[in-house]
């Protein structure tokens, strides 16, 4: 009997390892052992999943320093708004993780707009822009809010005239583009290139990916397994930015039809909005396209119910999850590990 057990031991070990590997790469991670050390090892492994979250390189060329410097100056300059009191940074405030901390943005004339300010953090990697994806490039996006009547309300022609009359901009345009001519295309390129430098720094989650086991708590490791398994979050909050830029009706409250305005007739786009990044997400409450969910706990409740509203175009990935109270806490604990350490941001002196 003893001999037989020895003979089967390698096979049994092999099966055990295969089951562990399968659970890490599949729908959910099951930690059935009563041995805490073994459970901890399984939670720290999850190697197949971890490879999906490694930082990707920019798809565009690295922005030039001169473009970035001009773009930074324009981004913080309130003269890009009709009332000269609102810059890009007014809503995309670095102190609020490049958002504004409000449920819905406030635009020209202090009027509240329909949607929440999306962060520009890691926006250089995005494949579509605005909540409804109406811009296909970062350059298109950068020009939009400047001229939008409800936002900065400065038509591009007037923007060019204003910038031409500010002598201090001439050397910045010259350094960036070789001449002092101001065009809206140059403004767009410079702002977009500055935005490409707005990148989250390493969070505890990244240190854990790199092998530092104590970088995140055990509850967050369980949360990571749930995020990729039972809770189905990673179907859309995929990759190192924790978004695939996809558009879905997730059953959030509100009358805003989202991307359906752009793509009428497609039921799946009715009430569909872009999947936001979860990098630094704990710093950006309230949530959703209109701030209708105040906390991360409330967001988890929405998904656990399979949406607060069930419309015909509801995403098939949104369905009741039957999460336990512990599951919900673990998911929140995981999302907290995506917060980068505070980073100081250089605010430029504005040219006169």
């Amino acid at each position: 009997m003893k001999i037989r057990l020895h003979a089967y031991l390698p096979t049994l070990l092999g099966v055990g390892l295969a089951v562990a590997a399968g659970s890490a790469s599949g729908k959910s991670l099951t930690v059935a052992s009563t041995d805490p050390a073994r459970n901890a090892a399984a939670l720290d492994d999850q190697r197949d999943l971890k490879t999906k979250y490694r930082r990707a390189p920019l798809r565009t060329a690295a922005p030039s320093a001169a473009h970035v410097e001009l773009g930074r100056t324009l981004f913080f300059d309130p003269r890009l708004s009709r009332a000269s009191c609102m810059s890009c940074a007014t809503c995309h405030n670095p102190g609020f993780s490049w958002g504004d901390g409000l449920p819905r943005a406030v635009g020209h004339g202090m009027k509240t707009l329909g949607r929440r300010t999306p962060t520009v953090l890691n926006i250089g990697w995005a494949e579509a822009f605005f909540w409804d994806g109406r811009a296909e490039t970062l350059e298109q996006q950068a020009l939009g809010p400047i001229a939008a009547a409800g936002e900065m309300n400065l038509p591009h022609g007037e923007m060019i005239k204003r910038l031409e009359n500010i002598a201090g901009y001439k050397p910045l345009f010259s350094a960036a583009f070789g001449d002092t001519n101001v065009t809206k295309e140059k403004v767009a390129i410079a702002i977009a290139d500055f935005e490409r430098t707005i990148v989250s720094t390493d969070a505890p989650f990244d240190r854990w990916l790199a092998g530092e086991k104590a970088a995140i708590p055990t509850s967050a490791k369980r949360g990571f397994a749930l995020f990729n398994g039972k809770a189905d979050c990673a179907k859309c909050h995929a990759g190192w930015r924790f978004t695939d830029d996809s558009f879905h009706d997730i059953g959030a409250l509100g009358d805003d039809v989202g991307r359906a305005t752009l793509l009428p007739g497609l039921e799946s786009m009715d009430h569909a909005f872009k999947t936001p990044t979860l990098r630094d997400v704990a710093l950006r409450a309230p949530y959703m396209h209109d701030g209708s969910e105040g906390t991360l706990e409330q967001v988890i409740e929405l998904y656990d119910k399979g949406g607060r509203v069930r419309r015909p175009g509801l995403a098939t990935e949104v369905h009741p999850l039957q999460l336990t109270a512990q599951d919900k806490r673990d998911l929140v604990d995981f999302m907290l590990t995506l917060s980068s350490p505070p980073k100081s941001v250089a605010v430029p002196s504005l040219p006169r």
Binding site: E127, A128, G133, E136, K235, C236, D244, D245, S246, F247, H248, R259, L263, G265, L266, E267, S268, M269, A272, G313, A315, T316, E317
Partner: protein, 115 residues
């Protein structure tokens, strides 16, 4: 008697039946192409087909897709395709058709429809 009635009824619609039959045979005679959707990508980014060819859009992914045309010359919409679903689209007009997934903006396919 019943045969005579049938022939009387059938005679006026005979040309319509023949034309429909010809059209159907033309469509069914077209080549079939398969475009897979996997990893939130189309299996190819450019496809050349002929008028009358059919393209089967197959969802081999673990998420839903919604393939549609942004070109007015050949509008179509597969609607939401859950994993495993496939939808056949016959290309009837010569020209360039830009195909997208409404859900995943990185999924882009250009179909060149020739004679």
């Amino acid at each position: 008697m019943s045969l005579r009635i049938l022939s009387k009824l059938a005679l006026p619609v005979l040309p319509v039946l023949i034309v429909t039959g010809l059209l159907l045979s033309r469509v069914s005679a077209g080549e079939k192409h398969v475009v897979s959707q996997k990893g939130k990508s189309f299996s190819i980014t450019e496809l050349k087909v002929k008028v009358g060819d059919t393209v089967e859009f197959k969802n081999d992914d673990d998420v839903s897709h919604n393939v549609f045309s942004v070109s007015k010359s050949q509008p179509f919409n597969t609607k939401m395709q859950t994993p495993g679903a496939d939808t056949a689209v016959t290309f009837t007009t010569e020209g360039t058709v830009e195909v997208r997934c409404a859900i995943h903006p990185g999924m882009k396919l250009t179909v060149q429809v020739g004679k």
